[in-house]
């Protein structure tokens, strides 16, 4: 029953490769979520950076729209995922961990040193948000790389 010829074995291996590629192609949703998270975070930080001290009514509404829109968009993308590749989950987890670690470190250091306050220019916050987004963008690039 298992007397396969080399040709049949090669055909089976090709099929296995094709099936694996199909799973990795579905990682584009992971990539979109990571890029969406990075874009939402940086856009929010830019807005806070531009209006650091209380801001304006426009800035407040725009910030809420960005955050809620980003959250809903990511949730919809997450619900559409039908295949979770092991590699996609790995990159997603590592990048989310790096993102959280950086944010926690910035908040911790800022609180401890009283460096981060209303008297500081908003660019500090924006720069720290851009740095926090780097692992997300990097993971999005890596996830999309192997297809």
């Amino acid at each position: 029953m298992n007397d396969l010829t080399p040709q049949e074995a090669r055909a089976a291996l090709t099929d296995a490769g094709n099936q694996a590629a199909r799973v990795h192609r579905s990682d584009k949703q992971f990539r979109s979520i990571l890029l969406g998270l990075a874009a939402t975070y940086v856009a929010g930080a830019l807005l806070v950076g531009l209006y650091p001290q209380g801001g304006s009514r426009f800035a407040g509404i725009a910030l809420i729209v960005i955050l809620v829109g980003g959250f809903i968009g990511m949730l919809l993308l997450l619900l559409r995922i039908r295949a979770y590749s092991r590699r996609g989950i790995l990159w997603f987890t590592w990048s989310a961990a790096a993102f959280s670690f950086w944010n926690a470190a910035v908040i911790g250091v800022s609180e401890a040193t009283r460096w981060w306050g209303p008297h500081q220019p908003g660019t500090h916050f924006t720069v720290s948000a851009i740095i926090a987004a780097i692992p997300l963008v990097l993971a999005a690039w890596l996830v999309g790389r192997w297809r």
Binding site: M1, L4, P6, D15, A16, Q19, R82, A83, Y84
Partner: protein, 116 residues
């Protein structure tokens, strides 16, 4: 009584009978790089009917190769499939045997054709 052990060296002996079925092989090959995949994704990619896929999944589940999880979002149910450790190990062994057969220099195929 004289007994002797015959060393089974041909790679075909390492092939798994359950994975020799093309649909079951494709299902497991699709699940191998994944943490979990939804039923409809597998059905669409392997190009089989719901009933055919359910039947093959039952066989793989009974063999301990595959796990089935049902999740609900509101009223909508989704069936998720994933390979077990056993399934993953068996598939790796099956793939290694396939690679060995595929790497053959053709003598095995020639012998097969002579046998008719």
């Amino acid at each position: 009584m004289v007994g002797w052990a015959v060393a089974l060296t041909h790679p075909r002996h390492a092939l798994d009978d359950l994975l020799s079925h093309p649909v079951r092989f494709s299902v497991v090959a699709l699940l191998a790089p994944a943490a979990q995949i939804e039923f409809s994704f597998v059905r669409d990619r392997v190009e089989v009917t719901d009933s055919m896929l359910s039947k093959q999944i039952s066989l793989l589940e009974q063999a301990g190769y595959l796990k089935v999880n049902k999740a609900f979002i509101g009223k909508r149910g989704r069936t998720w499939l994933s390979l077990t450790k056993t399934g993953r190990r068996v598939f790796e062994r099956h793939l290694a045997a396939l690679r060995e057969i595929a790497a053959g220099d053709g003598s095995y195929a020639a012998a097969q054709s002579k046998l008719g």
